[in-house]
Symmetry: C2
Subunit: 314 residues, 2 copies
């Protein structure tokens, strides 16, 4: 089924304890599209400047990403510069130059308007709704956001949330959005705001998935080499939405597998800088790590007679 993403495309400069890269391909829509492209075609809505290297556009197009919605505008491409310390869960922004992204007014090509699955990357919630207004009858809409929008555009964000099926946030954002410290209570509160499903991303600890009557806890894959966490959340969302769109179903079992696949894509993404980890990926590697995730987390039922025959107490 058809999958549309709106988000940022950036040139990132990143420092981690393991190295640095200057002006490499980044942005939420880039990571999302690349991760989702393993499962099917993706329609991209984003903006870049005149200085954006053609090779990056060709890379996306070659992966089956429809770039008809990629607008090239006079001016420079969005730049983000950040640093990670040993605690790779926390990005420290050193510099943000919005450039052409500051005037982003997403316009969907006519061919995109029938899209069934929609991912609203982490952009101004006004623009997220502007995209939704242009999609005729979306079947399943997921949305990302961040502390900046929760703080500065709360009312607009709440209006967006009323129109989405699923929200992706991290622990801190879930707490900030809900005003609840306990993550289960935070999730319950958020599920009264519109979304019927919520993913709480917890970095190296994995993710929790909540719906009205259902919780799923996914562990993160314990990685020995974690080089660059940039794009982990968008790779996660890309793996998730790519699989759900390919399945064309949103039942709990599909959602669980989608969460795990999100974790698989994110785990490969962070093993290398920029998009290198995703570029080196294959269907075989996705399947292999998915199987490793099962081996990592599954366990048998208890013996039926465990508490019989002389077991005290209870």
């Amino acid at each position: 089924m058809t999958l549309l993403v709106v988000g940022s495309i950036a040139l990132d400069s990143v420092e981690t304890p393991f190295g640095r890269r200057e002006e490499v391909l980044g942005g939420s829509a880039t990571y999302f599209s690349t991760a989702a492209s393993f499962f099917g075609p993706v329609r991209l809505v984003a903006t870049v400047g005149e200085d954006f290297p053609d090779e990056h556009v060709q890379f996306l197009a070659a992966r089956g990403v429809d770039v008809a919605g990629l607008e090239r505008k006079p001016g420079r491409t969005f730049r983000w510069k950040g640093r990670y310390e040993f605690d790779l869960n926390q990005a420290h922004t050193l510099d943000t130059q919005l450039n052409v992204f500051a005037d982003f007014r997403p316009e969907l090509p006519a061919a995109y308007r029938g899209s069934e699955y929609v991912f609203l990357g982490n952009i101004d919630p006004d623009l997220q709704r502007r995209v939704l207004d242009q999609v005729r009858a979306p079947r399943f809409v997921a949305c990302d956001t961040m502390n900046f929008w929760i703080d500065s555009k709360r009312e607009s964000l709440l209006r967006t949330l009323r129109r989405v099926d699923m929200l992706f946030v991290n622990d801190a954002e879930a707490r900030q959005l809900s005003g609840e410290h306990n993550i289960v209570k935070a999730a319950r509160r958020i599920l009264t705001c519109g979304p019927r499903a919520l993913v709480v991303k917890r970095g190296e600890y994995g993710a929790l998935f909540f719906t009205g009557d259902h919780v799923f806890a996914a562990s993160a894959y314990p990685l020995q080499s974690l080089f660059d966490p940039t794009g982990a959340g968008d790779s996660f969302a890309g793996g998730f939405m790519g699989y759900v769109a390919r399945s064309g179903r949103e039942d709990p079992d599909v959602m669980r597998r989608a969460i795990v696949l999100g974790g698989v894509l994110a785990s490969y993404a962070v093993e290398q800088f920029s998009l290198e980890g995703l570029k080196a990926l294959s269907h075989e590697k996705i399947r292999a790590r998915y199987t490793e995730f099962r081996q990592l987390t599954h366990f048998d039922d208890l013996e039926l007679d465990l508490f019989e025959n002389g077991s005290p107490n209870g």
Copy 2:
């Protein structure tokens, strides 16, 4: 099979955002014994002062905890006073009065010396070895420790580790002990120091279990009411060791179930103050939450044909 624990017994005064309790029953050996007692008898080695309420001894004895190794000495019982903020993963110690615990020299009753399963609670590593010296032929020895011993008695701790099968630590302790920030590398390093198995406890995020060729990631049960994290780690260890001792086997499948049962016991312990949560527990509740843990974490295999028929890339 026979299970022995050495550790502290304390009177705890605890403040959390949800309330406070004064001089309630606490200590590593207390939580461990109570949790383990659901699976079989426990032999306790600990010390208390003249002021220790008899009702607590009777409580333990009534649960099948052998108190022959509980030494009552002139002086006051160990007191600990602590506070938790909303981040319940982190205890802030307000006051520690070791009292009779300062002169603890564990002596095993003759009947304890044939114990097969041994848990060395978080005490001076010299004393941990003193206990081991008195056990004739332990089959499986597990050990807890903390930042204080890693820092102040590192060499002694390393001598203890060479004699244990399994170590329980939290993330920060694993990093401190190994000098590695990455938790997988930290685990690999620790497994060269003696233990053939390692549990890294991650509070509300769950636990990782490592052996030479095997990793298991257990999620914590997402709790809506978490009142008092005191004793969570010892309840975890008690559930783990109680189950392993009852099984009489240490193969990977038993270890996985034991980790999950540790999480079950810990989850109930933290839902109420002091030992109230464990006191209210039953075999039925243990089994019910174990089943919930499976439902919480399990997911199906991927469709065999997922990447066939028009799936791009890969």
